[in-house]
Amino acid sequence: MTAVLAFYLFAGILLTAGTMVILSKNPVHSVLWLIVAFFNASGLFILLGAEFLAMLLLIVYVGAVAVLFLFVVMMLDIDFAELRAGFMRHLPVGLAVAAIILTEMLLAVGVWQPGAGVAIYGAVGAPPVGMSNTQWIGSLLYTRYLFVFQSAGLVLLTSMIGAIVLTHRQRVGTKRQNIGAQVARTPASAVHAEKPKVGEGVAL
């Protein structure tokens, strides 16, 4: 009973938050609603018994992605009045496209024949006895899904190289910290005693 109540609570808030993400006028509010949505989605994962995925969702999406979004949204200087002007201008076309798509979907659903439940072929199933599901996910990633997992790593490497290629440049005239030179400084090269004459300054 509690689980059912919790499900409807999480699912309801998730849907509301999701709607608010696209309805808020202020993008910062949108991102905040997105964070609420992530929290509730992770609640649903916990109800399913997938506690590792729930924590992953929080750490990766709330901890990193959403916060990054927030920074970007706050840093970008977006003129919302201008954006909204464009929105109103394109509204008729947008509505027409939406109406066409909606009609098509309704037509498709109209002839829909719901099939029998889909059998998931080669499904992995529950973890073996004595293994937590975190362990089970890890062991699957490194055995059955090794190829895809490692290839995903290569995709990330490529995007990293790409980001460096496109943005990194050697600027001339910048002063960089030279740690080697700093460490190699000795009292002899850095400190020297002066005996100033009375009434005169010191040339440094």
Partner: protein, 487 residues
């Protein structure tokens, strides 16, 4: 033997390319951009090793690896030879350009190698998951390469445009993948084909997913109506990169499309045939008509690649082993023709230092550079499909396959589009041979590029007909394998 080691042995080319990309990246970080030339040769050597490891695989045997995520058979080997060859050529042909355009950065061969790895994974994909990962690896490297000349706004614009549209296409593809998984219950091609064949009535959900998957892949081969990005990206991207885009990725995505459709959705051939026929007709006609008004050679070649994709799709429309054989043959010849045309462009430079991009820049080329003009004429005649040249035979093969499959109208439209297309190919020849010289043009490409041009021209000339028999027999074996799995 340990199954993982066994799998790595089967996926030899990919393993070599992965290790090679990491090693060249490492060497590059230490040598910096000065090491570009040496690094390019190292990269070509690694591609050669990958090609050699391809030869090590037992011929005619289909091997699965990594729990059926990966398949190595004659089909993937045929395409991998094309891909690796085209990638090696794209690396070498970039050297003179990278040398003087102040864009010479050592990441070029590394990114090209990662893209090649992605393409090899694409043609060996046996599961929607590995399909997607391979496609993304290739695309991400391609986005960066398009914007490689970052000092120039056109190049950055091309990269950004390609990235945004490519991300959209990936999204559409993924949506299709999730629909297919939801309705079939599996992502493996063989599994999907079992589900599709067993279903008494075709499932609307799977059909929906299939349409989305085809749309996503049609973007990657730049088939109409998903071609919008092609002319802009080709025009904006550095010329060597445009040459690369027009060659290897087309072959890889086409191979992927064939494998998905024939192996995965073979039982739904009647459904996807209509879509492919539409893509094919639209690409042929738009490619032919759209090129007529162009004055920029890179845009012209972009439209030419759209039209050629249409012709290759004629083979897939037939959905017979003969058709796929024609498609593979077409790809092999098309790669040589398009790389050759781009090589000639790269070999030339205007006397005032600017790159040769306008068609009028080539006027009177036959008097200044008779050799290059003759090579370009051979490529153009071959692309137009004039009989004694090699470009005629693959067109003949795909049209014959279409006629054999009862698709008369498609073949007739193809011939008409081919005639329209001949107009602009021949116009370039006319400009080179009969117009008065306008802008002074100098040729300063390296000797390697000259040799590559000569080799490509020789291949496309009537002498290339000697190569038809081995290519066609290899393509025939490759096509048979795909249908074996499906059947």
């Amino acid at each position: 033997m340990n199954p993982t080691f066994d799998s790595i042995r089967i996926a030899g080319p990919e393993a070599v390319l992965t290790a090679g990309a990491l090693v060249t990246l490492m060497i590059g970080t230490f040598t910096g951009d000065r090491g570009l030339r040496a690094l390019t040769y190292v990269a070509v050597l690694i591609l050669a090793i990958a090609g050699f490891s391809l030869m090590q695989a037992p011929a005619g045997v289909t091997q699965y690896a990594f729990g059926d995520f990966y398949v190595a058979d004659s089909f993937s080997s045929f395409l991998k030879v094309l891909i690796i060859g085209a990638a090696a050529a794209s690396m070498l042909l970039a050297l003179p350009y990278l040398g003087d355009a102040r864009t010479g950065r050592f990441e070029y061969p590394v990114l090209l190698m990662l893209a090649t790895l992605g393409m090899c994974m694409m043609v060996s994909a046996n599961d929607l998951l590995s399909l997607y990962i391979g496609l993304e690896l290739q695309s991400l490297a391609a986005y960066v390469l398009a914007a490689f000349h970052r000092g120039e706004s056109r190049s950055s614009e091309a990269g950004l445009k390609y990235f945004v549209l490519g991300a959209l296409a990936s999204g559409i593809l993924l949506y299709g993948v999730s629909l297919v998984y939801g309705f079939a219950g599996t992502t493996s091609f063989v599994g999907i084909s079992n589900v599709v064949a067993a279903a008494p009535a075709r499932s609307l959900g799977i059909l929906f997913g299939l349409v989305f998957i085809i749309s996503g892949l049609a973007f990657k081969i730049s088939a109409v109506p998903f071609h919008m990005w092609t002319p802009d990206v080709y025009e904006g991207a550095p010329t060597p990169v445009a040459a690369f885009f027009s060659a290897a990725p087309k072959a890889a995505a086409m191979g992927l499309l064939v494998r998905v459709l024939v192996v995965g959705f073979g039982a739904m051939a009647l459904d996807w045939q209509q879509i492919v026929i539409f893509l094919s007709i639209a690409s042929m006609l738009l490619g032919a008509v759209g090129a007529i008004g162009q004055s920029n050679i890179k845009r012209l070649l972009a439209y030419s690649s759209i039209a050629n994709v249409g012709f290759a799709l004629v083979g897939l429309s037939a959905a017979t082993p003969k058709g796929i054989e024609g498609l593979l043959f077409y790809l092999a010849v098309y790669l040589a023709m398009t790389l050759g045309s781009f090589l000639v462009l790269l070999q030339l430079r205007r006397a005032d230092g600017g790159p040769v991009e306008l068609m009028t820049d080539l006027s009177g080329l036959s008097k200044v550079r008779p050799g290059l003009a003759a090579a370009m004429a051979i490529f153009m005649f071959s692309l137009a499909g004039i009989p004694p040249l090699l470009g005629f035979w693959p067109k003949f093969a795909v049209f014959t396959a279409a006629v054999d499959a009862g698709l008369w109208p498609l073949a007739i439209i193809g011939v008409i589009a081919s005639v329209i297309g001949a107009y602009y190919y021949l116009r370039l020849v006319k400009i080179m041979y009969f117009d008065e010289a306008g802008v002074a043009v100098i040729s300063d490409g390296g000797r390697t590029n000259g040799a590559l041009i000569a080799a490509a021209a020789l291949f496309c000339s009537p002498i290339g007909m000697l190569a038809i028999t081995p290519i066609v027999s290899a393509a025939g074996r490759a096509a048979a394998v795909v249908f074996q799995v499906a059947g």
